[in-house]
């Protein structure tokens, strides 16, 4: 009896979790699906219309002028009666058909529609090709006209983003690991005060630093260079990095370090040979944090690299796709997905450390 109830409880919990996960995933799924639909489909129907559903389909088209109908008075069409306004909205006949006036009063047409099963997929890889290949594409409309669509060179943006994100992740980790070791294991006057100061920097929003930093960079002529954004991200990330790594490094067993001291290791040797290898989980989890944050950052990149079109990063490129061509949804969806691939790869390759790193220090052993 109890076992059964327990079992049922577990099922309920799993079910609830599954529902939550589903809700959480819907926007991304929508984006993914949209990125594989052609331009026309995206603009005319939502991504959910790829599922089989009933929609109105045209059975016959009636020319109102041939029928001698007067659009200024109520009309009788196919067994229904309605004014022009009603017919514009569509009037349903008793047999399930719908009579709809398409177009204006003078040259419009009347469609007799019927509900039919439909799947509007419009599957295509064209979006990705256009985003990644950077060539112009011809797009044939249903009416036979051909539109030339300029493609988008996303690769350049990806390389720029990498050039920003990798050093912006590595530099703060290196500095913070040294600092965390110093704060955790070395005795020097003012250690507590300095550490509190570093942690207190966590509450400073980075926006307040943007303008002073910009004018400072200006005097150094650093604006629009990679070095500028590396230093900015290093500075903004350092407080959190030091704090996280301190929390981990200070929980390493004291006796192991003491043992190394007696074995003849200097602080530097201990740091390189013991602390770094033992802190891999913490380093990896911070690396994920920092990499994702820098990769997804738009504001800092815009301010310090915005002046230089050669250094446009992925987020700026994405914003450009929406801004320059508000109607090119198909490029935005594909571009967004391309920009997600790398963070996903980083996360999944380091995720076992991530889980361990988040738990770091909370559980011994």
């Amino acid at each position: 009896m109890r076992g059964l109830r327990k079992h049922r409880g577990a099922i309920l919990v799993n079910l609830a979790l599954a529902v939550l996960v589903l809700i959480w995933l819907i926007p991304s799924v929508g984006l993914l699906v949209s990125s594989f639909r052609d331009r026309f489909s995206i603009q005319t129907s939502g991504w959910w219309s790829i599922f089989p559903h009933r929609e109105w389909a045209v059975v016959t088209v009636i020319d109102p002028r041939e029928q001698g109908l007067d659009a200024n008075a109520p009309m009788d069409v196919e067994g229904v009666t309605g004014t022009f306004e009603q017919l514009r909205e569509g009037v349903e006949a008793p047999d399930g058909k719908r009579i709809k006036w398409i177009g204006n009063r003078r040259i419009g047409r009347i469609e007799v529609q019927e509900k039919q099963w439909a799947v509007n997929w419009g599957f295509t890889l064209e979006n990705y090709r256009q985003v990644l290949m950077g060539k112009d594409f011809e797009y044939a409309h249903a009416d036979g006209t051909v539109e030339i669509i300029p493609g988008d060179d996303f690769w350049g943006a990806i390389f720029n983003s990498l050039a920003v994100a990798i050093p912006s992740t590595v530099i703060p980790i290196l500095i913070a690991a040294f600092a965390a070791y110093g704060f955790a294991w070395m005795n020097f006057p003012g250690r507590r005060l300095l550490f509190i100061l570093v942690v207190a920097l966590l509450v400073v929003p980075l926006q307040v630093a943007l303008v002073p930093l910009l004018s400072f960079y200006k005097s150094l002529e650093l604006n629009g260079t990679y070095l500028a954004i590396w230093l900015a991200h290093t500075g903004f990330g350092l407080a959190l990095a030091t704090y996280l790594l301190f929390n981990y490094i200070s929980t390493l067993p004291r006796e192991t370090l003491e043992s190394a001291f007696i074995d003849g290791a200097s602080h530097f040797t201990i740091f390189l040979r013991l602390i770094l290898p033992l802190s891999v989980p913490a380093l990896a989890s911070f690396a994920i944090f920092q990499f994702l944050w820098v990769w997804n950052d738009y504001l800092v990149a815009l301010i310090f690299l915005g002046g230089n079109p050669n250094f446009e990063v992925v987020t700026m490129r994405l914003a450009g796709i929406v801004g320059d061509r508000g109607q090119d949804w198909h490029l935005l969806t594909a571009g967004a997905f391309v920009s997600m691939i790398l963070p996903l790869a980083v996360f999944f390759s380091l995720q076992r450390y991530f889980v361990r790193g988040l738990l770091a220090g909370s559980v011994k052993g």
Partner: protein, 371 residues
């Protein structure tokens, strides 16, 4: 190979005095055990010697060299910790070789020394493993091995057996003793376990509240404790104490606990000339109390009427928890001396093997101490 000297060493942590004016000389090749209850400062004393703590006052010498300001690595010591303190990401071999590599010892020599140490400790087949793949006992051997390969002048042990199970502890105890004989190096060993101290030490230093109580050979510590604390700390089960008064006359003296009295034998009487009327603490070890049916020959037997409270059968002996009046005490008797809870027994005390401490000066040695 070196002697070690603590010369008026004091270590304070803020207001707390962990080690208080410690004077202790350890000879070359001696096996000294620092023992005391937890928090008594014994580990701190050892860590000061290792250089892991700076001392507040006094000086520490290794050989003839004052090492107060010498960093740990240059003190020519090796230390084994309770938690093993192995390097978790290195193989056993690398754990042992780490210190030698840092000292730029030639590779061939490192290999030779590691192999040799592994052979001594019987861990040759474990050299490629990581510490997490080892059992507790094996880890402690690796920690020992790491100390051995360094060939230090002084070995320091900080409760190295506390994390091992009881059986392994006894076994490793014997191995450390053997290791000491084999290496012929100064060993300084910290423990809270008086059995470890008694079984391994050449000499034991008993510490309490940062103050050295007594340092002597195990036998002397057992026979002639310097004060009530040492008397109670050394020996298991620990010594029984009774509050008592010395009564009677100069010719016929008694130690009177109120419930029973023990006639003072002639040999002891001579040393209690001014003792009459003194309040004393009378101590007797459980092994000097006998079941009436199994009394050793040639003792100065004094009968004490008692009631059995609890019995603990150990196989080779029985611990009897007894009440004499409102005094409770423990006797360690012959396994044939069966008794049951509630039994009334006339226990036999060996009145020749007793300790008497001045009740007003518990820190003074036994009034019966020779010389």
């Amino acid at each position: 190979m070196a002697s070690v000297t603590y010369d008026q060493v004091t270590k304070r942590f803020g207001d707390v005095v962990a080690v208080n004016n410690l004077n202790l000389g350890i000879q070359d090749k001696e096996f000294l055990v620092l023992v005391g209850p937890s928090g008594c400062g014994k580990s701190t004393a050892l860590r000061c010697l290792a250089g892991l703590e700076e001392i507040s006052e006094g000086q520490i010498l290794i050989g003839d060299r004052v090492v107060n300001d010498v960093p740990p690595k240059d003190r020519d010591i090796a230390m084994v910790f309770q938690s093993y303190a192995l390097y978790p990401h290195m193989s056993v071999y690398d754990n042992m070789a780490f210190g030698l590599k840092l000292r730029r010892t030639p590779k061939a020599e490192i290999n030779q020394r590691v192999q040799e140490a592994a052979k001594i400790l019987g861990i040759e087949m474990l050299l490629d493993r990581k510490p997490k793949q080892l059992s507790g006992g094996q880890r402690q051997r690796v920690a020992l091995g790491r100390a051995i390969v360094r060939e230090p002048a002084v070995f320091l042990f900080d409760e190295p057996l506390s994390n091992l199970d009881a059986k392994l502890r006894v076994q490793t105890r014997a191995e450390i003793t053997k290791l000491h004989q084999r290496l012929g190096t100064t060993f300084i060993y910290v423990t809270h376990d008086q059995v470890e101290a008694m079984t391994m030490a050449d000499r034991i230093a008993v510490i309490r509240d940062g103050i050295l109580q007594q340092s002597d050979t195990p036998q002397n510590l057992y026979d002639y404790p310097a004060n009530v604390f040492v008397a109670g700390f050394i020996g298991s089960p620990s010594m029984n104490f009774f509050d008592a008064t010395i009564t009677g006359t100069a010719d016929e003296m008694y130690i009177d606990t109120g419930t029973f009295r023990i006639k003072v034998s002639d040999s002891i009487k001579a040393r209690l000339t001014d003792g009459l009327g003194r309040r004393v603490i009378f101590g007797i070890r459980p092994e000097d109390i006998f079941h009436p049916g199994y009394v050793s020959a040639g003792i100065n037997a004094v009968k004490v009427e008692s009631t059995v409270d609890v019995t603990e059968l150990m196989g080779n002996e029985i611990f009897l928890y007894l009440m004499a009046g409102d005094h409770s005490y423990i006797a360690r008797v012959d396994p044939r001396g069966h008794a049951h809870t509630g039994d009334k027994i006339e226990m036999v005390f060996n009145a020749d093997n007793i300790q008497l401490f001045d009740a007003d000066a518990e820190n003074q040695p036994s009034m019966l101490k020779l010389g």
